[in-house]
């Protein structure tokens, strides 16, 4: 019997719980090209870092000439223009700058930090709601509702609309699963499509309202269009809002869930975090290296032939950057398969790098630091009910579908 290709083994669901041995195999062929029309897979740290900064590498699907599904692209059917994650400079730069002027320095240096207290409150409420349960599903009861609530606050979605909002987000996120994407007629895809259209219409109404009566939220800022780069068109605002919503979402759920899973597997660090919340920053950075929520970036191509490690990648080829493999490259990190928040030098690829470096990184960091610190402090004697837990199908946005934890209670 012939062995299935390495790439197929990696995307196969059976390896979801622990893809890392396969990544080690992958790194032995630094530029892997298994079949005609298949992607060029890059897996070592320095190569990935180099390509993330390489101006010959494009994120625009329009430059892709090779066939094949593109796992992270947004379906065109919603009629929204591509968001900046799928654009190259200079268009990318313009949209990202405008979005950033509402999100971070220099125009809004305190927006994220000012949310610290509110994030703490949301986390506390979710934990209070656990009541006296003895077994919880961390995903459904905590890690999932938390980022949704946060992004609603940030964008300016009114509290009373949150349930509707969640009902749309859910099918869209499910629809991002590459496996279900192969079948556009599938119910999952139809539901995602439907939800997208409704979400777009809802956001359009909200954006219009904010244009008339601005408040202190990102939608108002995006619609107001002050600043040196002028305004986004309404359609650009909507695609940006959908991007922030979706990209800042599944990823944070997985980061928090992977985080708790890892801490339960390394209880000494859970104990340390309980005793010293100051460790949360180092723990989250090491998590982003050790179990990054985005395992690979499949949506890059090159605008000219480029040579890498003696392999010529032809213009227009698909390139996969396997961040999860680069993060455990022994050429870069000593003892890479050990979770060690004390390693001084954690320059991980968890947020990517270069001009497309994760836009929401400051928020994701803060959310996860606050969430893990609270979980460590308030969950009384937490134990994993099953290890490994059941994973989501998705190989790109990887994380447990459920994380059942037995507890003796929730401490005040």
């Amino acid at each position: 019997m012939t062995q299935p290709s390495l790439l197929r083994r990696i995307t196969d669901y059976s390896s979801r719980a622990d893809p890392y041995p396969l990544y080690a195999e992958l790194r032995r062929t630094p530029v892997l090209h298994e079949e005609e029309g298949g992607p060029y897979v890059v897996s070592s740290y320095y190569d990935i870092l180099g390509l993330l900064h390489d101006p010959r590498i494009s994120s625009d699907a329009g430059n892709l000439t090779a066939p094949g599904a593109d796992e992270l692209s947004e379906p065109e059917a919603t009629g929204l223009p591509p968001s900046f994650i799928r654009l190259d400079p200079p268009e990318h730069d313009r949209l990202r700058r405008i979005a950033n002027s509402s999100f971070g320095p220099p125009h809004r240096p305190h927006r994220i930090d000012d949310m610290r207290e509110e994030l703490g409150r949301i986390v506390a409420e979710l934990l209070d709601e656990l009541g006296d349960e003895r077994e919880i599903d961390l995903v459904d009861q905590f890690a999932y509702p938390f980022p949704v609530t946060v992004i609603c606050r940030l964008l300016g979605v009114p509290r009373e609309d949150e349930p509707r909002f969640r009902a749309w987000v859910d099918p869209i996120v499910t629809g991002l699963d590459p496996d279900s994407r192969n079948d556009p007629g599938a119910p999952v895809q139809r539901a995602a499509q439907e939800a997208r259209v409704q979400l777009g219409m809802y956001l359009a109404g909200l954006a219009e309202q904010r244009a008339k009566e601005p408040r202190d939220d990102m939608l108002s800022d995006l619609m107001s269009g002050h600043g040196p780069d002028g305004a986004m068109s309404t359609m650009e605002v909507l695609s940006t809002a959908v991007l922030l919503l979706i990209a800042g979402h599944e990823t944070t759920v997985n980061l928090i869930t992977n985080g708790m899973l890892t801490l339960l597997r390394y209880p000494e660090h859970l104990r340390r975090l309980r005793e010293d919340p100051g460790l949360s920053a180092a723990i989250v950075e090491e998590l982003l290296r050790y179990e990054p929520p985005v395992q690979l970036v499949p949506s890059r191509t090159c605008i000219t032939d480029i040579e890498l490690r003696g392999v010529t990648i032809p213009k227009g080829s698909r390139i996969w950057l396997v961040l999860g493999a680069g993060n455990r490259d022994p050429e870069r990190f000593t003892d890479p398969d050990r979770f060690d928040p004390d390693r001084g030098d954690i320059q991980h690829l968890g947020f990517g790098s270069g001009v497309h470096v994760c836009f929401g990184a400051p928020l994701a960091r803060l959310e996860t630091q606050i969430a893990l610190t609270a979980l460590a402090r308030r969950l009384d004697n937490p134990r994993l009910v099953e290890d490994p837990p059941p994973y989501r199908q998705n190989a790109v946005l990887r994380g447990p579908r459920h994380l059942n934890i037995a507890i003796d209670g929730v401490l005040p």
């Binding site: 870092l49 101006p55 400079p89 200079p90 220099p106 605008i303 000219t304 790098s353 270069g354 001009v355």
Partner: protein
């Protein structure tokens, strides 16, 4: 004692003296301890402060966004040192292995690290430099005084020299709505460091932010009031600018005078050392117990034709200090070379400027991404058919790629297409650096050496 035993002894109970208690000195001390040095460590500094960070002094501090006394350098670890702060080193006895101090004390060493850095070059006319209202900006004390005067609301600030420091000061003034005139001998700001093509963009930045920029002129004199306060500056084009605050930004002078007569290869261009940071004596013979790091060092760099480079760059101070510290306590077979790729950044008029490599070696420049007119671009410098440097305006995230191009000696002009390449970027043009034999306000990189293959040096012994 055999070499191996010697290094063991040195690590255990040797005496290491670091002259210069700033960035390079501190990072070296931390590296020594991190690598297991357990002997005695003495830190000598002429300023009375613990090591502090300088880049904020011309930026956040002048804007009032950071207190000048709150820029202490973060510590990586405890270094358990004897601090001799506020005490300048005044001499070195190489044979006796002793450093002489201003207070008459002498400190013996087994290994010495010199990291005395540079100081601001003062206004050359001494009497005018003494006028009240004439400043330089290098130290924390300078920043405190200047900040105080800026807060008092001067009628106009006059900046001499439009290098990085001068431009940053002008930017900080305009940010606070203070009228400012900048006089520059070259035809544009930043010309010495980045050349005329990029300098023209910098000039637009000045103009757009309301700086009264005077280029191609020299300042011929500063005029004081009867009570000794500065009140005007005279320029070589005959014009006079009334001002009550002058900041002299004419680059830096290396702190090597204290080594005069020591026998070390030290002079106005710095202290020559090998790629492992070991200082040369004046005959070109390498020492084994004296090391150099930071702004005051000049060392040959393989990526840049083995020219001797002095780099006034924050990152270089850190990297060189780490190499020097490692080599000081390592056997010769374990030593490592200092091969840091030069890089620096600046922030002025809301623009983030960063460069890698040595732009001033460049003969030509090509705009590979973005556009000069939008003031958002990456420019690549070429030297003898290879990429030697790159500069970015508000485009920092690409520089990592160009750094690799420099390291691998990638060919120039750049043939491949890049994202965001505009028609103007399709051709290489002269980078337009001023004649290096003419003095400027001082670029942050000084090229001062020749390839070992060159034989054009003429030895002229000094006449004492």
């Amino acid at each position: 004692m055999p070499a191996e035993q010697f290094h063991e002894w040195l690590r255990r109970e040797g005496r290491i003296v670091v002259v210069g208690a700033s960035l390079a000195g501190l990072r070296a001390a931390e590296t020594l301890r991190a690598e297991g040095f357990r002997g005695s460590l003495t830190m000598i500094g002429d300023e009375p402060y613990q090591p502090y960070d300088r880049p904020p002094l011309s930026k956040a501090v002048l804007l009032g966004k950071a207190a000048p006394d709150r820029t202490d350098l973060p510590r990586r670890r405890d270094i358990d040192a004897v601090w001799r702060l506020g005490t300048a080193a005044t001499g070195l006895d190489l044979a006796a292995q002793r450093v002489r101090l201003a207070d008459g004390d002498e400190v013996p060493y087994d290994r010495l690290l010199i990291a005395t850095g540079v100081r601001a070059r003062p206004w050359p006319k001494e009497e005018e430099a003494q006028l009240d209202g004439v400043f330089v900006l290098r130290t924390r004390d300078d920043a405190v005084r200047l900040h105080r005067r800026l807060k008092a609301g001067p009628r106009r600030v006059f900046v001499i020299g439009a290098g990085f420091t001068g431009s940053e000061i002008a930017s900080a003034c305009r940010d606070q709505d203070i009228p400012v005139t900048v006089a520059e001998r070259a035809d544009a700001p930043l010309v010495g460091a980045l050349g005329g093509v990029v300098g023209a963009v910098a000039a637009e930045l000045h103009h757009d932010h309301g700086v009264d920029l005077r280029t191609g002129v020299m300042v011929t004199g500063l005029e004081g009031s009867p009570v000794g306060r500065v009140r005007a500056a005279h320029l070589s084009d005959g014009s006079v600018v009334e001002t009550d605050l002058v900041v002299v930004c004419l680059g830096a002078t290396r702190n090597t005078e204290w080594l005069t007569g020591s026998g070390l290869g030290a002079g106005p261009r710095g202290i020559a050392c090998d790629a492992g940071c070991r200082a040369f004596d004046f005959r070109g013979i390498v020492t084994d117990d004296v090391y150099v790091a930071g702004d005051v060092a000049r060392s040959p760099h393989p990526l840049f034709s083995y020219q001797f480079l002095s780099l006034e760059h924050w990152g270089n101070a850190v990297a060189q200090a780490e190499v020097a510290a490692h080599n000081m306590i390592s056997a010769s077979s374990d030593r490592i070379p200092h091969m840091w790729v030069p890089a620096f950044w600046s922030s002025q008029f809301g623009v983030n400027i960063k460069s890698v490599g040595v732009p001033s070696m460049g003969e030509q420049i090509m705009i590979t991404q973005g556009s000069l007119t939008e003031r958002r671009f990456v420019g690549v410098y070429g030297y003898q058919g290879r990429v030697i440097a790159a500069v970015s305006f508000d485009n920092t995230r690409w520089l990592e790629f160009y750094e690799r191009q420099i390291e691998t000696g990638a060919p120039f002009p750049v043939e491949y297409p890049t994202m965001d390449r505009r028609p103007e970027g399709r051709k290489a043009m002269p980078a337009d650096f001023p004649d290096p034999s003419l003095p400027t306000h001082g670029p942050t990189v000084t090229l001062s050496g020749y390839s070992p293959a060159d034989r054009r040096l003429v030895f002229t012994p000094s006449r004492h």
